[in-house]
Amino acid sequence: MARLSKEERKISIMTKALELFSTEGFYQTTMPSIAEKIGMSVGNLYNYFTSKEMLAKDLILYIANILGEEIRKINESPLSTKEKIDAIVHMYFKIAQERPETIEYFLRVYLSNREVFQNCCEGMICVSAFVTELMIFFEEGVRCGDLRDQDFFSAFGLFMGYLGGMVFLNGEKILPKSLESYELSISDNIYHALKSR
């Protein structure tokens, strides 16, 4: 088997750690438990990540980049503003279904344990790839007259808070139907809430 590069190895560690963090929570997950899950010595794990906090920070950067990259593709596509909203909702729910640990990490680790991130991920630095693409989405939507001009965070909260909330309810098994069956009505709601009158 070909030897993995250090970067590839890091990603495979991160993938495993992600599962643990998002199911066990930040504080329950320890460097030894991560090492055990990967089948690696704790000492070796520290060769890749100098602390649990650094690993947690790299994970949020990794997830923000995945989400940012997906939204960037949508932003750069010729879709209308409404179609872009459909596409973002679809993409977000798809990731939540196929790689639930990513969104779970975002909601349950990153947003719920701000104290862990405050020294290495001030403000929005670690999620900048994702937030920047949403800024571009909103800015272009207002510029072309489709969306109503308003404060960025009011719009951001409405869009992402809604999606995050639905994924959370889904994770708690509260939703009576599958997540994707809500896609259309949710993107309609978002569009109607944000569109210019």
Partner: protein, 298 residues
């Protein structure tokens, strides 16, 4: 008094103007030195050889024809229409200086009659003015008004027989390759996104809350200081982009935003990079930049 043949012969003719460039020129502390080396065939205020009536009657040749003010074909000077005076004087001039944003692009007076008022070469961005064909001998000095040193620079270069490197609007690069943002004392506040929402503060950048246009305005206002001491942005007033063909814009003292994101980002900077960088900068709070520089109550 016999005229000195070594002196550059200059005609300063006004179109539709507020006299701002004339007055700005009189503020040049080195005006005395300049006047020793030039002869004004005509100038609206300074001693000169011909008065306005004589000028439009004789239409003499000149080394430099300076035009201040916007152009309108039927605007009259000493009862002669501009479309008969300007091309005739321009044809006989070695060099032409379009002085101020009105002469350069139409400027503020163009607002009164946008279809018929323009600059002498450019009508806003387009080379559709009456002297468009003479463009190679025109130097554009846009600004509202023009800094006196910018004009003396051009006169000195012409006297020295040196070529003046120019941009797409024929503005000297030496003066207009810079952005007004270059050299502003508030650059550090710009970097860290610390804004001031009032005029006249020593602290804070004026970009986000007050519509400062300097990051996309060409000019050396913060390099060659006004009255040799200051500039708009240094004294706490936003730049309103007076050197650009787009001047005057509306709502000068507010920043147009779309969902809180500035509609225009600094010249040449991709929007995505700008947003990523400002998002990062805003995440930090630099105490020193959030405090008063001089706190009287401390």
């Amino acid at each position: 008094m016999p005229s000195n043949p070594a002196k550059l012969k200059i005609i300063w003719l006004q179109g539709i103007t507020c006299n701002g460039n004339t007055h700005s020129f009189l503020n040049d502390p080195s005006l005395g030195r300049l006047l020793e080396s030039v002869e004004f065939i005509h100038h609206p205020l300074l001693a000169c050889t011909l008065n306005l009536s004589e000028l439009v009657e004789h239409l003499p040749a000149s080394d430099i024809l300076i035009i201040e003010g916007s152009y309108k074909a039927d605007f009259e000077r000493a009862y002669r229409r501009m479309d008969s005076v300007l091309p005739a004087l321009a044809a006989k001039a070695e060099h032409i200086v379009s002085l101020g944003s009105c002469a350069s692009f139409g400027g503020i007076f163009k607002e009164a009659d946008p279809e018929r008022i323009s600059g002498i070469v450019f009508d806003r961005e387009k080379a559709l003015g009456p002297l468009a064909e003479m463009m190679p001998k025109v130097i554009t000095l846009s600004g509202c008004p023009v800094h006196p040193k910018w004009l003396t620079f051009v006169i000195d270069m012409i006297r020295a027989g040196k070529a003046i490197s120019v941009d797409e609007f024929r503005r000297p690069k030496e003066l207009y390759a810079y952005l007004v943002h270059n050299g502003c004392l508030r650059n550090e506040y710009f970097e860290w996104k610390v804004d001031s929402d009032r005029f006249g503060t020593k602290e804070g950048c004026l970009f986000y809350a007050q519509g400062c246009q300097a990051p996309f305005t060409h000019g050396s206002c913060n390099k060659i200081l006004w009255n040799e001491v200051s500039s708009k942005t240094r004294s706490g007033t936003p730049c309103f982009g007076c050197t650009e063909p787009s001047f005057p814009k509306r709502e000068l003292f507010s920043t147009k935003t779309y969902m809180s994101i500035p509609a225009e980002v600094p010249l040449g900077v991709p929007k995505r990079s700008y947003l990523a960088l400002t998002g990062a900068a805003k995440s930090f709070h630099i105490k020193r930049l959030e405090e008063r520089l001089i706190d009287d109550n401390a």
